[in-house]
Amino acid sequence: MRITCPICGERDRREFYYVGDAVLLERPDPEAGEAAWDDYLHNRDNPAGDTRDLWSHEGGCGAWVVVTRNTVTHEVLATELASDVAADLREARP
């Protein structure tokens, strides 16, 4: 498996460490309430299909990368810098 780091380019999977669902970037407001926080901390989808994960390029530049991949075909569909995704999320906030 190869993952394209937005900074370093296409690299071997062994340079990356899997961190978890990219929903981690969507942290609720501290006052969002128990239900929102419970969901954020504990509930994850388990799709047979496209999913978005956070990976760390720890054996490379150190960037956090959002990887969109397919759990059935193992195809890697897209990679983005997590810092860019987080900035977009901040901007989209009301």
Partner: protein
């Protein structure tokens, strides 16, 4: 009183020669990790140019030359290798003296690429990895910084505690490559 003797990271391990490859230790006078503060990247680059005569390297690049290099070292980080960081840089970047933290070696020769191909999971051939190119990647299980410093030469950095493992890995790969060449 105890007499303290400074030992280099690869003391007793290098130099090493085999096949068409030679590995020697590099002992820079200083190594300083620079992390430019947010919004001060341009000012830092100007200060680096004034103080050390080289611009901040773009990602995956190194600037400067033998004796004083600025090597891109990952996101938002530059390692100044050789020259002692001048105080003029102080306001622009967080700095850490890492002079004793890294083992630095130079691998050179016709088969240097072939040796590294056995150890590093990325393409280091000259047509894609040219002089002045650098990468953070793996060498065996170790995180490393690799910079092409000549047509047939690379500078490799690993944590100082990994010096013996680095030399062992290189030696094993060198034997393998030399064996394939029938040397």
């Amino acid at each position: 009183m105890a007499e303290l003797i400074a030992k280099t990271p690869c003391a007793g391990l290098l130099p090493l020669e085999g096949g068409a490859v030679a590995v020697t230790e590099v002992v820079p006078e200083a190594m300083t990790l620079m992390a430019p503060f947010n919004g001060r990247e341009a000012a830092f680059s100007d200060a680096l140019k004034d103080a050390h005569g080289m611009a901040t390297p773009a990602p995956k690049r190194a600037t400067g030359r033998e004796g004083a290099r600025a090597v891109w070292f990952g996101r938002g980080q530059v390692m100044l290798i050789g020259a002692r960081a001048q105080t003029a840089l102080a306001g622009h970047a967080a700095q850490t003296d890492q002079s004793d933290a890294w083992a630095a070696v130079r691998i050179a020769g016709d088969d240097a690429e072939a040796v590294l191909a056995r150890l590093v999971p990325m393409d280091l051939r000259q047509r894609v990895f040219k002089r002045g190119h650098t990468a953070r990647t793996l060498l065996g299980h170790m995180t490393t910084s690799i910079t092409r410093v000549g047509d047939d030469a690379f500078m490799i950095l690993v944590f100082r505690s990994m010096a013996e493992t680095l030399v062992h890995e290189l030696q094993t790969a060198m034997k393998g490559v030399a064996g394939r060449r029938g040397a």
